[in-house]
């Protein structure tokens, strides 16, 4: 398993998504058997105001919400605009495309196959996970972040 290379794809939407739309698409993706990992990307929404005279004040933001994917709560910390997916087989892309078509109705999106996730540990990964890092963790979350990835209950 360790040497196997899994196909990956990237979904980029024309617009940044509301948490409700992210919830919708993730729930569609979560029921497709054969998606190994999903990374959601976008600009950071900080919990506190990071710069300026108001630095340190709480930063209420509708994009920083908790969504429910399957039976699991997922805390969004970014305004989502990109999804990276690692698949077991390439033919899943078709199903993913159909799920996107159903959800992204008001704007366009693109799906691209390629290699998008980190495959070799960086120095920071090494400092965090040590020499025997679990490959599945690489590139899944920022190694400097204290929170880990969210695990969804498998569907088979």
């Amino acid at each position: 398993m360790a040497d196997a290379e899994f196909p990956q794809c990237r979904i980029v939407t024309e617009r940044f998504l509301k948490p409700e739309t992210v919830e919708k698409i993730l729930n569609k993706l979560a029921v497709i058997p054969g998606i190994r990992r999903i990374v959601i990307n976008g600009p950071n929404i900080p919990q506190l105001v990071p710069y300026g005279p108001a630095r340190g004040l709480p930063n209420p933001h509708s994009g920083r919400a908790t969504i429910r994917v399957g039976e699991t709560d997922v805390d969004l910390r970014v305004q989502v605009g990109t999804f990276l997916l690692e698949l077991e087989t390439r033919d899943l892309v078709q199903q993913i495309d159909e799920a996107c078509k159903e959800v992204f109705t008001n704007f366009s999106y693109s799906i691209k196959e390629g290699k998008f996730m980190k495959s070799t540990p960086t120095q920071v990964d090494y400092a965090k996970y040590g020499p025997r890092a679990n490959e599945i963790m690489l590139g899944l979350v920022d190694p400097k972040n204290k929170t880990g990835p969210t695990l969804l209950q498998g569907n088979r």
Binding site: T13, E14, R15, F16, L17, K18, T21, P43, N44, I45, P46, V49, P50, Y51, G52, P53, A54, L57, N59, P60, H61, S62, G63, Q79, G81, N106, F107
Partner: protein
């Protein structure tokens, strides 16, 4: 022969909009009516109704030295009263925002006195005396230089001008200073991100057709492409060629 400024090259609608904004003889089109009090709230420099804090005594009281320049230059109201220097900063989305940093600076420099504009890639700040600033800000917000969705008043944490728009058409704002509620944009935080006691209504976002017709930014995908303006291309190639050959002292 009297010199008539041309303001800028180009035959496209974008070029024409740029010239209109820069030319002080063209009146800016008033689109919305944000009150002075609301402007003060968004700026966040003083409470509405509060007296202007001063940086020095009024010029009439402090005794000016005998200086020929001071005799030529009439001080602005803010300078006369000794106001503090304060700022307003804008971030403009690349998706057909009505203005953009360089354009703002040119426009303000042609139209207003006693200002210090600062131009950066994704934001533009203008500093001046506080009471002058409030007047200028009202102009900048109430006219066709501003769109509630694609222009942001952002004192700090300005990131957003080159990012995709959100689903509702708003430019990304890490601090979400303004929200779209019932089709109207309301500021819930002042420009640095401090929550406001009341929501400040700033108006409806302009539609895509208006933005495309009134933008001063070229955009290949959603607006007018730069390559479609032959005169602009010729101009920029000439400048590039002169700079390359002669540095900053071009001689043809």
């Amino acid at each position: 022969m009297a010199y008539t400024p041309q303001y800028g090259p180009g035959q496209s609608v974008v070029a024409e909009n740029r010239r209109k904004q820069m030319n002080p003889n063209v009146k800016l089109e008033k689109i919305r009516n944000v009150t002075d009090e609301d402007i003060v709230l968004i700026l966040g420099h003083r409470a509405p109704g509060q007296a202007y804090p001063t940086a020095h005594p009024p010029l009439a009281e402090q005794g000016e030295p005998d200086c020929p320049i001071r005799k030529i230059v009439t001080p602005t109201d803010g300078a006369k009263a000794g106001d503090r220097v304060r700022y307003i900063q804008f971030a403009d989305s690349v998706y057909n925002a009505p203005s953009q940093p360089y354009q703002r600076t040119y426009t303000e420099a042609y139209r207003y006195r006693g200002i210090d504009p600062g131009t950066l890639s994704g934001r533009q700040i203008v500093e001046c005396r506080e009471r002058d600033l409030e007047k200028i800000s009202a102009d900048l917000v109430n006219t066709n230089l501003f769109d509630p969705a694609t222009t942001g008043i952002r004192g700090a944490t300005v990131h957003g001008h080159s990012l995709r728009l959100a689903e509702d058409g708003m430019m990304f704002d890490m601090l979400q200073r303004c929200v779209l509620e019932g089709g109207t944009v309301k500021y819930v935080k002042d420009q640095i991100g401090t929550p406001l006691d009341k929501k400040v209504e700033i108006g409806k976002p302009m539609d895509a057709a208006w933005l495309k017709a009134n933008t001063t930014m070229f955009h290949t995908l959603v607006g007018t492409s730069y390559r479609s303006d032959a005169e602009y291309i010729e101009y920029i190639q000439r400048i590039h060629s002169l700079r390359t050959k002669y540095g900053f002292m071009p001689v043809e």
